[in-house]
């Protein structure tokens, strides 16, 4: 019996018992569909979150004061070893550094002449708009000159501008934060939310003014944007050396965007695979289904098996025939399940392109291979049973 004959035989048999074949396929397809759906959703979520984080570019090194790594809390707390504006300025002078953004965050009341609002206050420097990829809608961003004695300029988030000035122009007007007056030089475009901070309800002031306002000596973070010709490791080493020279010891924590993204990516991938793993319980139950139906089939088709053996087919060939049947069922089930999930989701992404869904070819291949393995595993026992039947016994059946 050549390969082609075998294939033909398998399909004939499956067609002859089409009801049970169909139901076996459906059971298995539900399993595959759940695996595909969950990995697709997991992958979609992973890409969505990663995009959130990579929107600021990937050539960033963040430096926080204090050497203990406390989930990014380090910058918020007080410290006996501050990171100062001088430190930030000295990093600016490294040739491979494109620019540096010092960051101080806080919250407070911003008053215009008639209205006031409690919002987040970001103490930064010129170019923070480029760093965070937010465009200026009106006017300009904070100037890049003199960090130590900056002019009292401020830039408003779009929503904050609405709150304080309504539809009137805000440029050239002044706002007051805790008795300090700031001249508004720009209004930002709407950007939405990032990590729980509404970037539209934010006021940007020079970092030095913010340090004064909050009575702090230390910046909360220094973001260094480096040029493309150096690697993350190289720039991290350069920055470390520069700061250690200035401080006499390593009293800061340095996280490259690469490292941060990598660990985030790891966590999200684990979540994705756990979801896939959990949903494959259904796949295993589907495998039990194939096993059940096949052991029934072998019992029913004793006569046929006997006839084949009497015609000279050996046990090996017999076993292969039944295995091929099981694997075919599993593969058809996998294909059905994959299409069952992918088609509707593709339609959804067609209408809603932002829907976090990512159909991976790799998952498809993986699902097919996994199905073939499960099919083979559940087919093996019935196949053996069929191969070991004595032809006389089998023929005499019924």
């Amino acid at each position: 019996m050549n390969f082609f004959d075998q294939i033909q035989w398998v399909f004939k048999v499956l067609w002859a018992y089409r009801l049970r074949s169909a139901l076996t396929v459906v059971g298995f397809a539900v399993g595959i569909a759940s695996v595909t759906l969950l990995t697709a959703l997991g992958e979609g979520m992973r890409q969505f979150i990663m995009e959130e984080f990579t929107q600021f570019g990937s050539r960033i090194v963040a430096i926080t004061p204090g050497k203990t790594e406390t989930y990014g809390l380090g910058g918020l707390l007080n410290t006996t070893r501050p990171l100062t504006l001088d430190d930030a300025e000295s990093l600016q002078r490294i040739t491979t550094v494109e620019f540096v953004v010092p960051v101080v965050f806080g919250s407070g009341q911003v008053k215009s002449e008639t209205r006031s609002r409690y919002v987040d206050i970001a103490g930064v420097a010129g170019r923070a708009d480029k760093a965070w990829k937010i465009n200026v809608a009106q006017g300009r961003f904070l100037p890049t000159d003199n960090w130590q004695q900056p002019r009292a300029f401020a830039v408003l988030g779009s929503q904050l501008k609405q709150e304080l000035f309504g539809h009137a122009s805000a440029l050239g007007q002044t706002v007051t934060i805790a008795q300090s007056r700031f001249v508004i030089v720009g209004v930002m475009e709407s950007k939405g939310e990032f990590l729980g901070t509404n970037l539209d309800e934010l006021i940007y002031i020079p970092a030095q003014k913010a340090l004064q306002l909050f009575n702090r000596s230390s910046l909360m973070e220094i973001d260094v944007f480096y040029k493309p010709q150096v690697s993350a490791e190289q720039i991290a080493a350069t920055i470390s050396k520069r700061l250690i020279d200035r401080h006499g010891m390593e009293d800061f924590t340095l996280v490259t965007q690469d490292a941060m993204l990598k660990s985030l990516d790891n966590i999200l991938s684990i979540v994705k695979w756990v979801a896939a793993g959990l949903s494959s319980i259904a796949l295993i139950v589907g495998g039990v289904g194939i096993l059940t139906v096949f052991s029934i089939s072998v019992a029913e088709r004793k006569q046929e098996i006997g006839l084949l053996q009497a015609l000279g087919m050996n046990g090996n060939q017999m076993q292969r025939l039944f295995l091929a049947e099981a694997i075919t069922l599993a593969l058809v089930g996998a294909l059905a399940g994959y299409v069952m999930v992918t088609m509707p989701l593709l339609l959804v992404t067609f209408w809603m392109p932002s829907f976090p869904f990512e159909a991976e070819f790799l998952v498809f291949v993986g699902a097919m291979i996994l199905s073939a393995i499960i099919g083979a595993l559940s087919g093996i026992q019935p196949a053996r049973q069929a191969a070991n039947l004595a032809p006389i016994e089998a023929l005499r059946d019924e």
Binding site: E201, L213, F214, D251, V285, G289, E300
Partner: protein
């Protein structure tokens, strides 16, 4: 036909097809067990978080300096505000009659040095009530002096890991060490305890709040924790605090409140949803098992045509024939659920003996949901083939071999 007859009839069928019955039971019990185990893990995690919170008492309020009027955003956790919340503010709040204990906190990272060893450590400046509020206990030594909110005294309490790193097995009590530019004497070491809500209690140090003001050169408090005398007085207390703060802060009540309850219920909701999703994922396997039952019942109907014809010929009604097959499926579901339940409980018991500090117990609603889903699925999926059996023409059925 009496009910008992249906049962006996079903049992003889099961005995005749042992392999098939065993496999169906395996599929069903795997589905039931996975639903129960996954929801149990979810519930365990929820319980763990609950425990973490209630270890500190449920009537805690946390005050953050600064406030935001943006809706739905995160609270101003960065703790920087143009108008500081100070120790004097907290002392003024002590007059509120619904406050049991209140502790101001100044937090920072400081370099602690002893001899030639040094370590960057999160250093909290606070007062004695802080220990009770955060449920921290001393392993040895004593707590901060009672006047920590008015006077600086050069004393420090170390976390167990800090003590280990700086002093090794040596005695630390009474030793002088440096915190930043100041000298402090060790008067206590915290009891060994793990992480609590993101703060590693082993890797931290506590000094008096006035001393922290000096070390970090800032009067700004990072947080204030207070414990209420009576549960349910959050609202009243918040109002009182706001009016006192406003009278001291030029008419502005620029503080934000976080209540333990609100935080806990937020976590609770998230965890409950995760548990539900886990259960639902596992329940897919029950549906697969249901399809399998349907398949096998179809096969069974086809194989037993002769028998069905015979039954009908001696007077069995269509309804009775249908009942035979449905009851078979239901018995399978019940036994499968029982096996699944037993398997799940055995695994959970095993897990609890291995990780004894993690609470695991199958939630009642999950057991109920898993078993009833198994029953309903079996019932629904067996109905279609059972109906086919019921509609068989006895003559044709009898004629088949």
């Amino acid at each position: 036909m009496r009910l008992i007859d249906y049962f006996i009839y079903a049992l003889t069928v099961f005995v005749r097809h042992k392999m098939r019955t065993a496999l169906l039971l395996l599929a069903l019990s795997m589905g039931v067990a996975s639903v129960i185990i996954l929801t149990t893990i979810g519930e365990g995690a929820r319980h763990f978080i609950h425990q973490e919170f209630s270890a500190m008492g449920s009537d805690l309020l946390i005050i953050l300096p600064g406030k935001k009027e943006t809706q739905g955003g995160a609270p101003p956790i960065n703790g920087a505000s143009p108008r500081d919340l100070t120790i004097d503010d907290v002392n003024a709040l002590k007059t509120i009659n619904s406050i049991d204990q209140i502790a101001p906190i100044i937090a920072g990272t400081a370099l602690i040095r002893f001899g030639n060893k040094s370590r960057e450590v999160i250093t909290m400046g606070s007062t004695t009530p802080f220990f009770a509020l955060r449920n921290m206990r001393l392993g040895e030594g004593r707590l901060l002096p009672d006047n920590a909110d008015s006077h600086h005294s050069p004393v420090i309490i170390l976390g167990s890991k800090v003590k280990q790193e700086l002093f090794g097995a040596e005695n630390a009590l009474g030793e002088w060490l440096n915190v930043g530019d100041f000298r402090f004497r060790v008067i206590g070491v915290l009891e060994e305890r793990g992480e609590s809500l993101g703060l590693d209690l082993r890797d931290m140090a506590v000094i008096g709040v006035r001393s922290a003001e000096m070390v970090f050169d800032s009067p700004a408090l990072f947080r204030v924790i207070l414990k209420l005398k009576y549960a349910g007085s959050e609202h009243y207390t918040e109002q009182q605090v706001r009016s006192i703060i406003a009278s001291r802060h030029e008419g502005e009540d620029d503080v934000t409140f976080i209540s333990q309850d609100a935080m806990m219920s937020a976590f609770d909701n998230v965890m409950l949803m995760v548990t539900m999703v886990l259960g639902a994922i596992a329940a897919i396997s029950l549906i697969v098992a249901g399809v399998l039952i349907m398949n096998v019942t179809y096969i069974s109907v086809a194989q037993r045509k002769h028998e069905i014809g015979l039954l009908k010929a001696i007077g069995a009604t269509a309804k009775q024939v249908k009942t035979i097959f449905v009851i078979e499926a239901l018995i399978l579901a019940i036994i499968g659920s029982a096996f699944g339940l037993l398997g799940a409980i055995a695994l959970i018991e095993l897990a609890t003996t291995i990780w004894s500090n993690f609470y695991l117990a199958a939630p009642f609603w999950a057991i109920f949901a898993a078993c009833s889903t198994a029953l309903v699925v079996s019932l629904l999926f067996s109905l279609v083939p059972a109906k086919k059996a019921a509609q068989l023409d006895p003559i044709i059925a009898l004629r088949s071999k």
